[in-house]
Amino acid sequence: MDYIPNTDKDRQKMLSAIKAPSIDALFSDIPKKALLKGALRLPSPLSEPELKKELRSLSEKNTANGHRVSFLGGGSYNHFIPSVVRHLAGRSEFYTSYTPYQAELSQGMLQAIYEYQTMICNLTGMDVANASMYDGATAAAEAASLACRHTGRRNVYVSEALHPEYRTVIKTYGRFAGWNIEEVSPDSSMKDPACFIFAQPDFFGRIEENAATFSDVVHSKGGLSIATVDPISLGLLAPPGDYGADVVVGEGAALGGAPSFGGPGLGLFACKKAFLRLMPGRLSGATVDDKGRRGFVMTLQTREQHIRRDRATSNICTNEALNALTATIYLSALGKAGLKKVAELCLQKANYAKELIKKLPGFSLPHSAPAFKEFVVSMPFSAKKANEALLGKGIVGGLDLSLFYPERKNQMLLCVTELIAKADIDRLVKALGEVK
C-alpha cells in the first residue's frame, strides 16, 4: 500500500502539463539494463518478535563504541558525556523541532543559541560567533571564503598539518570560487594571501608554539589568520584571539556529541567584530521589546541564501541548533573548572602513553613538539599490522597515517582522552610491544 494522495486523473493532468506521455517516460534517461525488473527480492514478512530477533542478530555483528577501549581519534573523539546532556537535549521541544521559521516565537531556542554563541566567544577570544555550521571542515572553508571576500584576494594558504579532510573540503569550495589553494608549511613564503589556515593543536596532535608568528606573518602580508581548534583543548590552551587569529573555526562535536560514524558534526565559527557582516550563517542577538523586556532575535539572516539568493554570503542556510544546544548544555554542566580538568586529563594521559611507547624497541616519535591528546608513533611494522594485532586483544588502535600521507609508512596517530584509564594505556603499550 502506498500513501500517494493524488489520483490517476491528477497524474494525467500533471503529465500533460509537462508534455510527458507517461510516468515511465520520465525515467527514460536511465539505461534500461540499470532498471529494476519485477519486484524487489525481499524476505517474507516477519512478526514483530521475529523482526526484533533478526535486527538484534544483525546489530550483534557490530562492536558498539565504548565496548572496547579505543585510541582512535583523527577528528572524531570519545569524550565523556554527562547524563544531563542527553536528558535535556533529548526533550521533545528541542529534539523534534525544525528550524524556527518564525524565529522570534521560539524565544527559548534563540536564548539557547545566544548562550552558545557567548560560550564560543569566551572560549575562542573572538567578538562574535554564529549560531553554528555543519562541521569543522565546512566552517574552515567558510572562513577561507570570508577571507577572500574581505581581502578581495584568491590565494588561500593552508597548513600541511591541517586535517587532510578539511583540506579536501576547502578545495571543493574553492574549485568553482576560483581560489588558488596552496598547502604550505607555515614558514614558507606567501604571496598576496587572503588567509593562512592552521590547526591548533594540528592534525598530528602537536601544540603549535609559534601560532602568534603565523598570525604576524600573514597579517604583515595583508591576509587573515584563521585557526581551527579542538574546543576541548581550549580548557587549557590560550584562546586563539590571544595569538592574533581573526577567525576561529573548529569541530564542536566533542562538546557532548558521540562519535557515531564520525557525525553529526558541529561547525564552530567565530570572528572579530570587523568581519561580522562578512560572516556566514545567522546569529541570535539580545535586545529589548517595546516594554523594555529582554528578548532575542534572529539576526543577519538577510545575508543568507533564502533572501539574497546568488548574492548570499554563503550557501549554508541553516545551523545545527540541536548540536549547538548539546554543546551549550555540555559546557554548562562542566563549567570552566570541568572543561579545564577534561583538557588536563587528556594532556596528561596522552603524554603518559607517549613516553611509554617511545621506549618500546623499534618505536620512535617523529615529532618533538608537545602533544595535547594525540601523538604520532613510528613503528617497526605497518599500522595495519599493529591495528589487527590490537583488535585481537580487544583494543581499537590508532589512525593509519599512510591512508592520508603515503610517505608516513609505519606511522600511527594515537588518541588518548580522559575516558582512557591508566590500565588501558598500560595494556595498549604491552600489546604494541608484543606485535610480531
Binding site: R277, T302, R303, I307, R308, R311
Partner: protein, 120 residues
C-alpha cells in the same frame, strides 16, 4: 535630479554627482540597519555595484548611476543608517562622485518616467 531604474537618485552639480536611494526604495526596504559604503577614491563605471544597504527584511545592492571617482561618503550613515529612511533625498545621501563621463546622465530617467516605473 535623475533616477536609475535600480532606484538610485543622482543630483548633478558641476562635475560632482550626489547619490542616494529613492523614497520608494527606502519605503520598500523598511528600516535600514546598515549601509556598506564605498572607499573614497574608488572609481566606478555606470551601473557598477558600489555598496549594499541592509534592512531588517533584506540586503540590497547599490548601483552607481553614473561613472566617476568617489570624493566623499556619508559617514553619518555608519552610526545612523536610519537617515536613509528619515531623509532619503537630504541627510540620507550615500556618496559623492567626480563624474568621469557626463554623457552617462542621458541614460538615466527623469522624475516623470521614474514615477511611471514605480507605479507600473
Amino acid at each position: 535630479m535623475k533616477y536609475s531604474k535600480e532606484h538610485e537618485w543622482v543630483k548633478i552639480e558641476g562635475d560632482i554627482a550626489t547619490v542616494g536611494i529613492t523614497h520608494h526604495a527606502q519605503d520598500k526596504l523598511g528600516d535600514v540597519v546598515f549601509v556598506e559604503l564605498p572607499e573614497v577614491g574608488k572609481a566606478f563605471k555606470q551601473m557598477d555595484e558600489f555598496g549594499v544597504v541592509e534592512s531588517v527584511k533584506t540586503v540590497s545592492t547599490l548601483y552607481s548611476p553614473v561613472s566617476g571617482k568617489v570624493t566623499e561618503v556619508n559617514k553619518d550613515l555608519s552610526a545612523k543608517p536610519e537617515l536613509i529612511n528619515d531623509d532619503p533625498y537630504g541627510n540620507g545621501w550615500i556618496m559623492k562622485l567626480k563624474i568621469s563621463s557626463p554623457a552617462d546622465a542621458d541614460k538615466l530617467i527623469g522624475s516623470d518616467d521614474y514615477q511611471k516605473l514605480i507605479e507600473g
